[in-house]
Symmetry: C2
Subunit: 391 residues, 2 copies
């Protein structure tokens, strides 16, 4: 096991009828900005629950934060924050709203010229202050509710970049599985795929003797695999929704990453796919992951065959390399079937994407001087190969 | 899944050569009291590492905190804290030192007459203030390094009681597995048994549809089962020590308890066994647990047979009740063998304990109006039965 630090001070409030607790979690004197997305919270009753809880608080609203929250949209919220002297942000929605809110929290107190620098020049523009954030989560997927990370897009330049700071941990996150009943199938399955790939990106690298973390990752994956068909069959089952929601939170709260080596190749290439072609985040992951697994078989053999045996119960009496290779291939098939079971596509060509922009995508990693993968061995050349494998 | 709240702000610093980070984690102006136990930290180099890190800090020392930390000992530390205007406590040692330090932290700022009331009259004497605590852990066992609980003994009255508060979370806990190389076999195996039983007390109750938590518990148990023989064979293996240490921390940091029903019968009776007969904490657990499992077979059938199948790979092709009962019995045998493998005894008679004091022990639960177990169905009568089963 490698040395690590783990710190996660987010207070999780999980369960039915918990949104009413919001008012007690925010200082009475706070000037709150409620941030939200396309307005579904006004249809499904969540907004009314929040408003009811905050009836003795002062709050403002900022709606319209889109999936893959956009810099230009968020900067309008920053203006509002400054104008109304907002000192607490309450994100009501899914991971995009919350990620956008995290950016608002940092950008509102940023003293440099252009808050975009927080994403592009992270070394010289560290986040030193941020407004406090609370979250009411309505879409289990990104894990943003229990971490200090955010992903922000800029449609103008077709960019999608990350930021992170301990200052961006929500003070609290309220997770009421009932709020997820009204998600449509695409939102639901996108969320499951996102959580699943989060775990794989952390787990499927190389062995550093971390058996507990391996099994904790497998616990998440196996639970998602078991619960998914139940959810597809009965989307209004509270327990199934609750189990999926708690998996998604824990898939990216830092715990399974303790003391291990992580990958994130699929996410980094996937972000470009979303930025270039407009695929949903989870759609991009489901397309890129299989290609990365094919391309990196040599490096990921031990962990991915272990995953095959433990999560998919692939029994292979053989031992050693050839047995692992066989299990690896079956595990990949099982993973694809799992995505297909949710009607999530696993090839770029399923979206009619052709290779014209591949070189431009690949070159970006060289431009940003980023090498991908747990071995830092994936440069633009390998990105090109992976993109072609994803066709 | 039941509604729950989860909040755990302890910063974990895990790995080799991490004690040197202590100074950066404590305010420069702090007046520190370093608390420790029997002095092993002065022999194994830990004390020197701490002292070296704190060379620019002001610190005082309080040694001699015993296993099952005693109220009278701790009150001497409280005196010292007040006299020297201590404002930060640094626990260097195992769970007993840390538990004792937590009590000191609360007692030093307690405004009532007798700090013992913090343990006996918890409803009316809630902890409202506590000194900040840091921990350098040298014995993986209790999980105290990542929770807000403590267990305090009073030899004068043969009592052993718990206290807990979010104010008692350590600000940080440094876990360097190298510090555990010098533990003797009894300390090492006691720690493993303690962690193992912590998980079972949370996991082996009844089903509330919490598949993730079940699997997270199994991840801890399975890892302990796999790592224990390696540790017995090669006690100086860093990775094995690290894996055991991380398991012990996570066994009682609240995570596997999220949304489920817990038991703690074994601990509650075990505390009395320690208070009456002086058995080590873990020794008391290893004796009482099998008796509780025999006595509560009806109630724990589903979870304990699941544990047998998943952690011990007991294959039983049958289904339903009789198959579960068979697996249950084999799982109990496997658990006993696991303890015996560590030379930990599993019967009261192994310690020459006879039933003379059993009624006095059992009556205490009635006196304190405590009913035990996940169904709150264990009163003095059942405690008597369990104690006899433990003979």
């Amino acid at each position: 096991m490698k040395n690590f630090e783990y710190y996660n001070p987010v207070k999780i409030i999980f369960g039915r009828d918990t949104i009413s607790k919001t008012s007690k979690l925010i200082p009475e004197t706070a000037r709150i900005l409620i941030t939200y997305g396309g307005g579904s919270i006004k249809k499904n009753g969540v907004y009314d629950q929040v408003k009811n809880s905050l009836k003795n608080h002062i709050f403002f609203e900022f709606g319209g934060i889109e999936a893959n929250p956009d810099f230009d949209t968020l900067m309008k919220a920053v203006e509002l924050v400054k104008k109304e002297k907002i000192d607490f942000l309450l994100s009501v929605g899914g991971g995009s709203v919350l990620d956008g809110t995290k950016f608002i929290a940092a950008a509102a107190l940023y003293e440099g010229k252009d808050p975009w620098d927080l994403l592009t020049q992270k070394k010289t523009n560290k986040i030193e202050k941020a407004l406090p954030i609370g979250a009411i989560l309505t879409l289990p997927a990104t894990g943003s509710e229990m971490n200090g990370f955010a992903v922000i897009s800029r449609r103008e330049t077709k960019e999608k970049l990350t930021l992170g700071s301990p200052l961006l941990f929500p003070k609290f996150s309220i997770l009421d599985p009932v709020t997820t009943f009204t998600l449509d199938k695409r939102q639901t399955t996108n969320g499951i795929v996102d959580a699943y790939v989060h775990v794989l990106e952390q787990y499927i690298t190389y062995d550093v003797n971390s058996p507990l973390q391996d099994r904790q990752s497998e616990a998440l994956l196996k639970t998602l695999v078991d619960e998914t068909p139940k959810l597809l069959k009965d989307p209004d089952n509270y327990d199934t929704r609750a189990n999926i929601m708690w998996c998604a939170t824990q898939a990216l709260n830092g715990l399974v990453a303790c003391g291990i080596i992580q990958d994130w190749t699929t996410h980094m290439i996937g972000h470009e796919i979303t930025a270039f072609y407009g695929l949903d985040h989870a759609q991009s992951l489901a397309v890129i992951l299989p290609a990365v697994l094919k391309h990196q078989k040599e490096n990921k053999l031990q962990k991915f065959s272990q995953y095959g045996r433990r999560v998919w119960h692939i029994v292979n009496k053989g031992e050693g390399r050839s047995a692992d290779e066989l299990v690896y291939d079956i595990a990949l098939e099982k993973t694809l079937s799992y995505f297909h079971q949710m009607d999530v596509k696993t090839k770029l060509s399923d979206y009619n994407i052709t290779p014209e922009n591949f070189q431009e995508i690949a070159d970006r990693f060289d431009e940003r001087k980023i090498k991908l993968g747990e071995h830092q061995n994936i440069t633009s050349k390998e990105v090109m190969e992976i993109l072609h494998l994803a066709l």
